[in-house]
Amino acid sequence: MLKVLFFASVKEELDCSALEIPWDQSIDSLDRLQARLIRDGGPSWRVALERKNMIRAVNHDMVTDNSPLKDGDEVAFFPPVTGG
């Protein structure tokens, strides 16, 4: 299973804060997971997830490129951070 989290404006646009997706080989990378989310979610998910400056994290680490995924990973999608 993959745990997928969304934060801030991304969460609001999707009206979704978290999803659990049963593991299978077809979502063994970040790009493939994103394609699955868009396929299942439709055009509004495409707009939200393909936004400019989207940040993706795997197991609490920000990743800049596509990244392999394995069963049990936690993935997050969020906009640029604005703390401090």
Partner: protein
């Protein structure tokens, strides 16, 4: 390094108390530099009536601790702490506190600024402002990214 502390909390904090906690019983620290960030009453030309701070629990603490560890590797610091609030905040409220102690001031000044610059770019917090025209997510500023970038390739002292 053991003397690195991170707290993400809804409660307010007492900066004077946090500063005292940075000092050890050995009295070897000759310098403490601290930074406190507050909620401003205006941003991008609009009056702000409050702020909602969202964070990614777990990743936030981990990323700040990673930043403190990087600072401890670059400068001879004795201790460093970050306290960052989340939830609903009012204008004038304290948001964040960074404190660094060291034997001499140079390391404390540099490490404190380094920690804030990196926190602004790497710690997963998001601010949503309340204005007369409604609520809006704060946009990340390119200048914050530039400030963090200037530390790369530069050696500590």
């Amino acid at each position: 390094m053991n003397n690195l502390n991170v707290s993400v909390q809804t409660e307010d904090f007492d900066a004077a108390c946090l500063q005292r906690e940075l000092l050890s019983a050995s009295n070897k620290e000759g310098a403490v530099v601290t930074f406190t960030g507050y909620v401003r009453s205006e941003n991008a030309g609009q009056c702000i009536s409050g702020l909602l701070l969202e964070h990614y629990s777990g990743m936030t603490e981990r990323s700040i601790l990673h930043i403190l560890n990087q600072a401890a590797e670059r400068w001879p610091i004795a201790a460093a702490s970050v306290v960052h609030r989340v939830g609903l905040l009012g204008v004038g409220d304290q948001i964040v506190w960074v404190g660094v102690s060291s034997a001499h001031r140079e390391a404390a000044f540099s490490a404190c600024e380094f920690v804030m610059d990196y926190l602004k770019n790497e710690a997963p917090f998001w601010k949503k402002e309340s204005t007369a025209k409604g609520d809006r997510w704060v946009e990340a500023r390119a200048t914050d990214e530039e400030r963090a970038r200037r530390w790369t390739g530069q050696t500590g002292n």
